[in-house]
């Protein structure tokens, strides 16, 4: 039988606020256990929560980025469960009147755009952490009270690949809005999945399985694939599907059963009497909406339309909003979008990654890259020289690219005189190469390109070099350009 896979995701992101959700403790990772706490976030008797306005607004901003509606009335509820990392034994969350609902995320899966529904995004407080020792466990409440936005999707994804693509776009959108850094490895974005299968054509949902702790995008796809395989195996073996909660180990790339659920938890939600319901005025929502940046897919479309970037290049340019801003600024100055995109996705991306520097912090400013592109396009320098200048700036040279070229005499030589001299010198030293060319292996002439470049310290204009060699041996100059085209 043909089965359809049904996946929904529950994503928690930590909000980038100054302070915690309901108290004035700093919202930052703190190493020393229980050092970033106050009576409120540790639930000390007598304390009361106060809603963090910044968290509330970031929640709305993120929700708007996910295309959600913002209802006029929202409230906070208490969700009860006993666990030692939850000092009040209830979590302040939102139940039936979330801050936002009914969103849509547009996602590209294998080049096709699909829309996945967002049921709701609501605000809540994070719990602490338990650290288990052999004889006992320790409780660290530093994380307690960290503001979270929980984003619940509709069960709209039909494959693990779609789920991953949804999650990647969710992360990208939230990073664009600036509400969270969405770092899965560090836990500022956490993803749980619900998955079921049903015969194709069936509209009722099958028995769901849950997966927790998939702390990477690859993990989400891998764990979902394994659980789906297990569900298919059970179904084909005629077994009834049970409601299982799975864990996932990234180290072993394995799923494991955490528990088999019998009853639904009763969280005894009720409105938190310490927090009056919040009326969210339309003016307020519009003021927040005005802070919403251009979203990734809109930006991609614009890059293709306005700058003529390919789908592939535009897709790469929008993967990081700051990188996209860098691209636009470089292009604004140089008006060479294609070249800018190439430099950014190859040289710049590689160096930022190996040097562990953020794009906004790099010494190679958009102005400098634009100038570099200009020098190349005017043939003042060739591309290898441009790379040398690029590296010099990253290594700390604070002069502009033009000044570096001037200072270090890097301007390219197009005059054929010195090139011819260098060629003759090389011919004398390499009679065998000459014999090969003349004996019917014109490609061997590439050897002399390298020799000339070496003699001329890389400054020779590659086109002039090709012309001189071609003329000397009577061969087609195109042969000598072939190695530039590798991708």
């Amino acid at each position: 039988m043909d089965y359809e896979i049904v996946i929904g995701l529950e994503v928690h992101v930590q909000l980038l606020t100054e302070t915690k959700m309901f108290c004035s403790c700093r919202n930052q990772f703190t190493h020393e256990p229980n050092s970033n706490v106050c009576p409120v976030c540790i639930g000390m008797p007598g304390t009361l929560p106060v809603i963090n306005k910044q968290a509330f607004e970031l929640g709305i901003l993120g929700a708007l980025g996910l295309g959600c509606e913002i209802p006029e009335l929202t409230k906070f509820d208490r969700k009860h469960y006993y666990y030692p990392d939850l000092p009040k034994n209830y979590q302040i969350s939102q139940y039936d009147l979330p801050v936002s609902q009914n969103g849509i995320i547009e996602v590209e899966v294998d080049g096709v755009r699909k829309k996945f529904g967002v049921t709701r995004a609501h605000l809540e407080e994070d719990a602490g952490k338990l650290m288990h020792e052999s004889s006992h466990s320790n409780v660290d409440l530093n994380r307690t009270g960290t503001p979270l936005l929980e984003i619940v999707s509709e069960p709209d994804m039909r494959s693990p690949q779609e789920a991953r693509a949804y999650l990647e776009m969710l992360k990208l959108i939230l990073q664009y809005t600036g509400i969270s850094d969405c770092n899965m490895e560090e836990g500022s974005l956490r993803c749980d999945a619900n998955v079921s299968i049903r015969p194709r054509g069936e509209t009722k949902l099958g028995t769901k399985n849950e997966i927790k702790n998939m702390n990477s995008f690859r993990g989400v796809e891998a764990a979902l694939t394994m659980v789906v395989d297990e569900l298919l195996r059970q179904t084909e073996a005629g077994e009834a599907i049970r409601q299982v909660t799975w864990g996932y180990s990234i180290d072993r790339n394995q799923i494991f059963k955490m528990r088999v659920k019998e009853d639904a938890n009763d969280y005894r939600y009720f409105p938190d009497p310490d927090l009056p319901a919040v009326h969210v005025g339309r003016d307020w929502v519009e003021a927040i909406r005005a802070r919403l940046p251009e979203l990734p897919l809109a930006k991609k479309d614009r890059f293709m339309k306005d700058y003529g970037l390919s789908d592939y290049d535009a897709g790469l340019m929008i993967q990081d909003k700051k990188m996209a801003d860098y691209f636009e600024e470089t292009t604004r100055i140089s008006n060479m979008p294609k070249e800018a995109a190439n430099w950014i996705q190859n040289d710049l991306a590689r160096e930022l990654s190996s040097r562990k520097v953020a794009v906004e912090d790099t010494a190679m400013k958009p102005e400098a890259l634009a100038e570099l592109l200009d020098l190349v396009s005017k043939k003042t320098i060739n591309v290898p020289t441009a790379r040398r200048v690029f590296m010099k700036i990253l290594d700390g040279d604070t002069a502009s690219p033009a000044a570096i070229v001037e200072k270090e005499g890097l301007a390219q030589v197009s005059d054929t005189g010195p090139i011819k001299d260098a060629l003759e010198e090389a011919i004398k030293a390499n009679p065998k190469a000459v014999a090969d060319i003349e004996g019917g292996k014109p490609a061997t002439a590439m050897f002399f390109v390298g020799q000339i470049m070496r003699t001329m310290k890389g400054k020779a204009d590659p086109e002039a070099v090709a012309g001189v060699i071609a003329e000397r041996f009577g061969i087609d100059p195109e042969i000598l350009k072939s190695n530039k085209k590798k991708k």
Binding site: P45, V50, Y90, V139, F270, P273, P276
Partner: protein, 487 residues
């Protein structure tokens, strides 16, 4: 007049004008406590050293000519569910031991700033759940007018302390009558302010949407004085009123001329209302009438549902608020458990008394899936209707007068095994909490056994000042004159 007989207002004036020192006053009251509290049991903790230090500080500031606050040198007693930095908060429960708050409640901070001297903490029904203070896990408190009788509850220790001349002022908390009932039983004045007038920050929560801290005094003037100190917006309590409340700092205007007083017929039709209480209350209303008040009957038809509504709302909130006492973070921890569930269960089993357990179970039940709509949600709707009844009545009258309790103080042990009868003793006080309106109990004579009777006056929301003025007008006519129980 002995120092312990003086009102707070006259003590403050005498201390400021150096007729007497704060130290002399504190010593006099500590001596009276030392001599008599063994027979009464009002205090759970007496901080003689701390009180003397506070008094010395006030004396030295007055000697230096520095400005001092409205309660400079005035001794106060604090119900033991309100935090004072460094003094244990027991809530008269085993489970809180040994909890010492590291911060002042909003109200105690205000009192400290006003120069009050903290004598100690007073006994209560465990977590303020009860009407006789017999539910204290620590000790029995005796009514100063008859040691065989209860002081009322849950703020029995505070009422007894004021009535016995241990302290001119005390703080209580009132969730369903816990200030007014003991004030009535002990023959002192007790006010439950409008919900939101006084911050709940630092009050150990029982029923968060009903709890309100309020003052006890032997005179209305003293009661008003303490209210003026503790009222005010607190950014740490989202339910505290942001706008100032009119008239709290103005002198009382003890006049009944032109005042419209309503007598709710349902209150006087209840089974179980003693003739003596009915007659005393009606006589008090007649006295006000003779001073120019107009009296008319009003109707509060939904009042008949007040007790069941209260025991759903209050217990639901209590079951949530008390979830945090689990042996992990605060208070006592059961010995000899080897897993977390047993630690939770045994700690709570050993730590809570029977009434608290009963209410946690009730509250847990009414919030459970499948019962929520039938109980909790329904109770919220009835609560709204009760509030609307009051609103309607207050369109016709300025103040509503009624008994505080169906009878005067009952004997110790008389109702302790009949929780329902105990619950019904709050029948006249509960609805003001449900409707968030203010209520005051002011002495209106004694019954044939010599036990005090209380007149309850209820007012419009945030008309606490008018309520106090009306109470003061009656007080002049009552001839009670801040009477102290003869010990």
């Amino acid at each position: 007049m002995e120092l312990f007989e003086q009102t707070a207002a006259s003590l403050a004036a005498d201390i400021k004008s150096k007729k007497v020192s704060a130290k002399e006053v504190t010593d006099a009251l500590l001596a009276r406590i030392d001599a008599h509290d063994k027979n009464i049991g009002a205090f759970t903790c007496i901080d003689a050293e701390g009180a003397r230090a506070q008094a010395a500080e006030i004396d030295s500031r007055i000697a230096k000519g520095e400005s001092v606050g409205a309660l400079a040198g005035v001794p106060v007693a604090i119900k033991d569910n309100i935090h004072v930095t460094g003094m244990p908060t027991t809530c008269s429960s085993k489970i809180m031991k040994p909890f010492v708050p590291p911060y002042d409640a909003f109200v105690t901070k205000k009192m400290r700033e006003a120069g009050a001297v903290f004598l100690g903490k007073t006994n209560l029904d465990e977590f303020a759940m009860g009407s006789s203070t017999e539910n204290s896990a620590l000790q029995i408190t005796h009514n100063p007018h008859d040691f065989e009788r209860v002081p009322g509850g849950s703020s029995g220790g505070s009422a007894a302390a004021v009535a016995a001349g241990f302290s001119p002022l005390a703080l209580g908390s009132d969730t369903g009558g816990s200030i007014r009932a003991p004030a009535s039983f002990c023959g002192c004045v007790g006010l439950k302010p409008t919900y939101g007038v006084v911050s709940r920050y630092g009050l150990v929560a029982f029923g968060s949407s009903l709890d309100q801290i309020g003052p006890f005094g032997r005179t209305v003037e003293d009661t008003a004085l303490l209210l003026s100190v503790i009222a005010g917006h607190d950014p740490k309590d989202s339910t505290s009123r942001a706008e100032p409340v009119d008239g709290l700092n103005a002198p009382l205007n003890p006049s009944a001329k032109g005042l419209k007083i309503g007598l709710p017929k349902e209150y006087f039709e209840t089974d179980g209302l003693s003739d003596e209480v009915r007659n005393s209350v009606l006589a008090a209303v007649d006295a006000l009438k003779s001073e120019g008040a107009q009296v008319q009957e009003v109707s509060l038809p939904m009042i008949k549902y007040a007790v069941p509504t209260y025991y759903i709302v209050a217990t639901a909130e209590a079951s949530s608020n008390l979830a945090r006492y689990d042996g992990v973070h605060y208070g006592s921890r059961a010995e000899g458990t080897d897993n977390i569930i047993d630690l939770f269960s045994k700690t709570r089993e050993e730590g809570f008394g029977p009434e608290v357990k009963r209410r946690i179970m009730l509250g847990t039940y009414v919030l459970s899936a499948g019962y929520y709509d039938a109980y909790y949600l329904r109770a919220l709707k009835v609560r709204t209707r009760i509030a609307q009844d009051f609103d309607k009545a207050f369109e016709q009258v300025d103040v509503i007068a009624s008994p505080v309790a169906p009878d005067t103080a009952f004997k110790l042990g008389e109702l302790i095994n009949d929780p329902l009868a105990m619950y019904l003793s709050d029948i006249y006080t509960i609805s003001t909490n449900l409707a968030s309106v203010p209520g005051i109990s002011v002495p209106c004579g004694t019954d044939s056994k010599g036990m005090p009777v209380g007149l309850q006056l209820m007012g419009r929301r945030f008309e606490d000042a008018r309520l106090l003025s009306t109470a003061a007008a009656y007080e002049r006519l009552s001839g009670w004159n801040g009477k102290i129980a003869s010990l």
